[in-house]
Amino acid sequence: MSTRHDVKRYPGLGPLSVLFFIYLYAPLAVVVIYSFNANNIAGVWTHFSLQWYSSALRNTALLNALKTSLTVAAIATVVCTLVALCAALAIIRGKNVRFRKLSETIVNLPLLLPEIVLAVATLILFSLIDVQNGVIRLTIAHSAFCTPFAFLPIRARLQGMSLDFEEASADLYADRWTTFRRVTLPLILPGVFSGAMLAFLISMDDFITSNLLSTGGTTTLPVYIFSLIRSGTSPELNAIATLLILASLVLATVALLVATRGSRDNA
């Protein structure tokens, strides 16, 4: 009865929102369902089968692409998390930082520019200075555009952390390094962790930059998938897609859980 007079309630929003969530997840569900389809033609259902998973896991081109992607993403994640951590410490905790706002904009610059522009610009740079190695090209480019994704959670965490803790540590005879190691870092660790996870996911997921910068031997996973899609949808592709979607969702869930759990602890 009480809801009838609830002025904050707008009728029809409930059903609309249910439809919205179906819309968000139905396409992913379709891929997952078809991945268990025995039929050669992806869209025609015959019966349940795991054959495409076994063929996907025996596909060496796929495994090579996965290896390239993991290598690039791992190095880029380490680099950009360190860069982001340093930048966040300086911007949020540094004293007398000149151009604080500008410095922050520089770190976040990849978010403001269209990725395709950055990708072709980097391609020209690498061809001018003659960097041929695909992994090096990809790692440098990925480190740059993943940095904001690592930076933002770390920055938020540091900003939310009271200066009192660092002052209390200094008051209790800890020098700056001890304070960083024993107080600051443990308290911002959830932010660092989720930042690193997000950077890793973004790197693994990237297509536009990788497509332009990867060379013959160093195809990344999304670039390889793109070539598969171009040569026609196949049930094996559905199996690969399902595995990747699940991996991303699990990683993202862990990252988000760590971030929220951490913020609750510090409340």
Binding site: P27, I124, A170
Partner: protein, 309 residues
Amino acid sequence: MTDSVLHVAAEADRVPRVRFWHDLSFWGLLPSRLLMGFALILPIFIIAAVSVATRGAHGGFAWDFNLAGYRQILFNEGWTGELEFTPQYLLIIVRTFLLAGATTLICLLFAVPVAYFISRQPPGRKAALVYLVTLPFWASMILRVYAWMIILGKDGTLPRLLEYLGFPAGTSFMFNDGATLTAMVYTAMPLMVLPVFASIEKLDGTLIEASHDLYGSRWVTLRRVILPLTAPGIVAGAILVFVPSLGAVLEPSLMGGGKQMMMGTLIQLQFGGGRNWPFGAAIAMTLMALVMIVLIFTALRAARREVAL
């Protein structure tokens, strides 16, 4: 004493607490400046230079000043050097804007009611729903587009479903602007819902009650209280959707087919297999300029809004 007076004059902001990490500013910011300087700012300068360079005979370019790259956006050069207006690239730019704009509008249309609905849920369910909105964003972009190829493509889920319902067989929904738009909306949706939700969440519920108390209907309240107060979130969401949409590559190249190009695919085409680098660079500069105009415009509006408040 003079020292301290100078110090006072130099310190503009009244921050009452000393920042803890004293001399971090240089060393802390050095890595990000080096990385962004080398992998971002330097390439942007180079591409700006290439956009006014001369096309090489066998791909690539030569460092001779030439505006041919920009001229080509609007004109076609005939045999005798006469310039003829050709709208094909201009049409691509217009299509890019229209598709990005449509994506933003459609996302907005769904995001506002859904975000409002989520904000009205009890805390536990609210957190769960926000998580559910965020989650698909982390699934690989190319796979999210691919999912729609399976649904809309030949032998796809939707044509089969329609066939089952008695519509003529063999309909394909692929390789047109509608298909591109469908995928663009789908990939961008979480980026719109989250900022809109954040600003609706901050809205003080008693303001809605006050509006009703003062004889405002639901519609009047929505138009005169809820929407104006959530405008910053709506603008933020619109930017987050519109700017990347302008640079979309995957959606048009997979869903739109080869013919229905957007600026992103046009740029990419110029850099594949020894095409026209200066022309590609010119298009890229144009795209970047358009994005910058949008960003500066909204930043200025936001600043004016702040002054007004």
